[in-house]
Symmetry: C2
Subunit: 407 residues, 2 copies
């Protein structure tokens, strides 16, 4: 579990502020829920892998609770509870802390914060375009250059069409997806083993694995047929991303599948171009989740964007904030100046300035050393200033001084 000291909070606030402002700029409304969730709800929906990693506990009245591993079941619960009252489609976002009990590695902690963007009850691919654009917009607000990452896009429905063209029936697809999603993490033999365990024969396993070599949308269309609706959907998404001016960041990648079983259509994952980090964000269409939670059926698109990987990337790119927040440090020489110093602090703050007031008298040298480390401007009040009713406001960067009235 992470502690956030003030220097860590600067980076976290920068990420959170970019998330919140880009989601708000795209018309998403914020929601939240308690980090403690019903274990039963989480188990009903989450993938097998997640269920084993849930931090579960029992409360004093015997209820089975858990620290949520992801926000989507909670979102589905909240939407289902008010499905009659909400005006659809809804566009919601949250910045939620999530927990997983797992081995800690780079880019993976036992708890992290995640921006979730969801659009519910919108069938058109405009929903996918909107969440991908908004995540890219957040990266831009953090200062991450467009050239530093790619959003890899595929469509599970297209992969389904391709599997059908190989003679692999629909009932096997879910198992094949989960096996192929492991590509790059475990050897080919193990992946084919997983598929054989789903009752696929050797040639089907091998053919399914070879689909991962398809490198362009055109090649996929050649196999699936030019009228493939799921390939057309990807093209339509790329056209909308071009309208948003973010076409260069998006690429087709048949091997993007996503680990969660509830995705039904377009899926995507953003990675740094050097391949040094885990996924920056990911998501896709999940059209059956709301009905699984007990709501009326509604289509949905979601995106998750964690704080750990992007924090590592910001640091690796040397993008840490260099300019400090404007702040006036006020110091004073003796107890006699404390009152005027306090009045000045109150006045400047009420004018909207950030002011850090020394809590005790100090020598000028010690004060300016503190001010240099913590502020952009400084006022040091001595007995003469108190008597004259004037002091100097010093810009610590330019050394410029302005006379300021004491009150």
């Amino acid at each position: 579990m992470r502690d956030f000291y003030p220097e860590d909070m600067k980076l976290r606030n920068r990420i959170f502020d970019a998330w919140r402002s880009s989601a708000t700029a795209s018309g998403f409304e914020q929601y939240d829920a308690c980090v403690v969730e019903s274990l039963e709800l989480l188990q009903r929906k989450a993938g097998e892998e997640i269920v084993n990693q849930i931090y579960a506990f029992e409360d004093k009245s015997g209820r089975n609770l858990a620290l949520r591993p992801e926000m989507t079941p909670t979102l589905a619960r909240m939407v289902a509870a008010r499905q009659g009252a909400l005006s659809f489609p809804i566009k919601w976002f949250t910045i939620a802390q999530c927990f997983r009990y797992e081995r800690m590695t780079r880019g993976r902690k036992r708890e992290h914060y995640q921006l979730n963007l969801d659009i519910i009850d919108e069938d058109s691919v405009a929903a996918e375009a909107e969440v991908i654009y908004t995540a890219i917009s957040a990266l831009r607000r953090m200062g991450v250059p467009d050239s530093a990452y790619k959003v890899r896009v595929s469509n599970r429905a297209l992969l389904s069409e391709l599997l059908v063209s190989l003679g692999i029936e629909k009932e096997f697809h879910s198992g094949v997806f989960m096996a192929l999603d492991k590509k790059g993490k475990i050897p080919r033999e193990e992946i084919e083993g997983l598929m054989r365990a789903e009752n696929l024969d050797d040639s089907a396993c091998s053919a399914a694995f070879d689909l991962m070599d398809i490198s362009t949308l055109e090649d996929a269309e050649q196999i699936a047929g030019e009228s493939s609706p799921s390939a057309a959907r990807i093209s339509e998404l790329f056209a909308l991303l071009a309208d948003y001016g973010v076409a260069d960041q998006a690429v087709f990648d048949i091997s993007v599948i996503r680990g969660l079983s509830y995705y039904t259509g377009i899926v995507f994952e953003a990675f740094d171009v050097k391949g040094e980090f885990r996924a920056i964000f990911g998501g896709g269409r999940y059209d059956n989740l709301l009905s699984a939670i007990g709501g009326k059926p509604a289509s949905a698109v979601g995106l998750g964007f964690g704080d750990v990987v992007i924090g590592e990337i910001i640091q690796s790119l040397g993008l840490e904030e260099t300019t400090s927040l404007e702040c006036v440090a006020i110091g004073y020489m003796t107890d006699d100046e404390r009152s005027v110093a306090t009045r000045l602090a109150g006045k400047l703050r009420s004018e909207g300035r950030n002011v850090t007031l020394q809590t005790r008298p100090a020598k000028a040298k010690a004060f300016f050393s503190f001010a240099g480390a913590n502020a952009t401007h400084a006022v040091f009040i001595g007995p003469d200033d108190r008597l004259s009713g004037k002091a100097n406001l010093k810009n610590l960067a330019t050394r410029e001084q302005t006379a300021i009235d004491l009150v």
Copy 2:
């Protein structure tokens, strides 16, 4: 546990934004830590009442963990861990979720968020003035009028002096504080019973209880003696609050004691003047906590300000946000306009405007009904607009229209 739907988040963000901006304006630096904390740390420091209400659980490796009931032990742990590296005094704040398993009543939930302001290693009463001023400044930023509440201030050290003047020895004071703190919650007989259980005789119990009738600082000084250092400290605090322009909000109240055992000096609680709600914020000086956690001794002042009571007060005063965030709704008549609508949304967002783009074609009437509920401005693009390359940006409040170029 609370769900926050978008309308609830508006109120919560307003409270959090006022907290963060006022703390930053006063030069506090933000920190945070995971809501899961070591049970042992929490038990080492918390009061008896809190220990019984901790949400504790065991993780898979058998560690005893808990959802923190308050942030102060975590703060002490973090400060103690870096005591050699930090430059004191430090001024830190956090907005932390805290949990207590207890019966839910108005103003009291099983989880809440709390602004914590702490100043560590500052002996002077400037520390108390700074945290009280900053909390008042947050209330002002929320629009709560100065006349709506009072900050009641006392000093446990003064109450100690008064008890000594009655012949009650120091060793009994902690028990007497905890008993007298129950005034107004349980009958006088029960409070005196609690004191008798601490081995005070009947006349001492009665005399201690009567101290709660002292109504002015002058009366307290008459009993404690005019040179009472702890009464002088309260006067000094009031003078600094006057320098900050918030003297009218502060009153002396000998009956303010606070329930936590670790306070050692000045204590304070803010209440609405009508007495309808629980405390808005409270805090005080706790000079021995850091050494109890294992750090070097350091004086400290802290303030806690929860989101539940202030949320109720904002609603009871009718102060809910009435103006909505500036936002442009963009709609379009047919699929042919989707591309220009998307380009316009991207352009306006990149200029810093908030834009909610309709995800599908709509009739003008349905679009303007949506825009009226969700936006301050609207652009509706039809085939003619697409062909002419111009559309109208309508201010929904003034009905004023401005021509806007499509891109």
